[in-house]
Symmetry: C2
Subunit: 285 residues, 2 copies
């Protein structure tokens, strides 16, 4: 496994392997089983596998946790070596962003809601860095987790609208035994907060149950979800939404494929989670 | 020569020729000797040559000349055939921009001045379409004319900042016998306006002469240029600037490599022109 911070070295290695199917898993490091599920799938699909580790400064807001975002490059590299990764790209900030960096890629519709609303500029930062990484690595297939549902939708839109030739594969959210969605930020959770954090998935599955039982009012469902989450003292809801799973427009009545998505602060730690409910699949039963 | 509007067909042909050096000349059609100078140079440099013809709607402002921009696809294709072009890409608007298109590439520093100031959103449209075309054609070298000096600078910045792997080659402005810079928009000029239009280059060369003689005050030089241009009744100055040729920052004292750039309406027709003056080259003499 080659580990390098050099863009030129990455380009040279990619060029040598251009006749292979290049799989790519972009990460911010602090790898967990969610990342590793992407790596394992990519390892099966592709005969050359690249993973990037880069905590992208421009997708963090000025008051967000860029400085304190968990970093553990040594451990990450060990994990990736075990998975049989071919190439790890771990650039420094100044290699990715020159002092007079001035070109951004921006999605302007899907990013207006959910996390984009709470974190202005976040998806501009994501689209810009993912563009850069795609252009450096030139992958055939790139892998993302459904936990970042909105991110995946925006990246797919970017691929379509900018005519990128990469294929985007999305894999299910990987969860802890108690169903907390895996996240690098989970390490921030103190013991009580960690216990409370299961209420996110509880709220989501309760919503799904209500829909299964015939409830079609997002308002009613969100009220129940709010009850579940606010019953824990450590929680503060950032947003909760039931939206069309393609357009991300808020639903007034539940129909089609609905995304139930939320962001909740547990103490100071902002966690996100989501599930997609396909109404038709219930109606068939 | 293959002519197609299909993105998929372009991709398939490019894939077949991926071991060749792919040259690319993006145009908005209405081809003139300026475009053809790019095509000829690309033909010499590369063993597979692609030209695109696409009047890009999103780089025109709402009050600009998108509808009336000169179009002559038949004649353009004849010209390109004579030059031995391999592939012409002439997509329709709806192939380039889906109804819910929502991803843009935006340069935010160099585009704040000169034409970017007069035409808000123009360079965002340019960067977005050029990104798309680069991603579709995947060229090794792309060719642009110095007449669009600011555009070239912005595209080079985009290539750097988004880590595109294309090389940008810039060729000198091609001029009519009386030194009017070639432009598709020149066909709009009525006989008197056409006569008056030579004052743009006259003003630029007079500025150069003044600098050669030792004048270092942009203010003084711009005053003289203004006199030359406003002596023609049909003219209305959009902007005139003497700027650092790299940063495009306005110069208070002329030094280094200076760009002298202007945009002038002749009747209703907006024309641009520029020259670069390297002070050091005068000082050596």
């Amino acid at each position: 496994m080659i580990v390098t911070a050099s863009i030129n070295k990455i380009r040279a290695i990619i060029k040598k392997n251009k006749n292979k199917t290049i799989g790519f898993v972009p990460t911010m490091g602090a790898l967990h089983q969610g990342h590793l599920s992407l790596v394992r799938r990519a390892r099966k699909d592709c005969n050359f596998l690249v993973v990037s580790i880069f905590v992208n400064p421009i997708q963090f807001g000025p008051k967000e946790d860029f400085k304190n975002y968990p970093r553990n490059l040594k451990k990450d590299i060990q994990l990736l070596k075990k998975e049989g990764v071919d190439l790890v790209f771990s650039p420094k900030n100044e290699q990715m962003y020159f002092y007079d960096f001035s070109v951004f890629v921006d999605e302007v519709e899907l990013s207006q809601t959910l996390c984009g609303k709470s974190r202005p500029g976040h998806f501009k930062g994501v689209c810009t860095v993912v563009s850069k990484l795609f252009n450096i690595v030139n992958p055939d297939i790139a892998y993302f987790g459904q936990k970042d549902y909105q991110q995946v939708l925006i990246i797919k839109r970017m691929v379509r609208d900018l005519n990128l030739s990469v294929k985007i594969k999305v894999l299910p959210t990987v969860r802890e035994k108690d169903n907390l969605a895996m996240s690098s930020r989970n390490v921030y959770l103190k013991p009580q907060a960690r216990k409370d954090s299961v209420c996110l998935y509880e709220a989501l599955t309760f919503a799904k149950k209500l829909i299964k039982q015939g409830q079609r009012s997002p308002e009613e469902i969100l009220n129940k979800m709010r009850e579940i989450i606010t019953s824990k003292e450590s929680t503060k809801i950032d947003y909760m939404i039931i939206a069309d799973a393609e357009s991300l427009k808020e639903l007034k009545v539940i129909k089609g494929k609905a995304l139930i998505s939320l962001a909740v602060y547990i103490d100071e730690v902002r966690l996100i989670d989501n599930i997609v409910v396909n109404i038709k699949s219930f109606m068939k039963k």
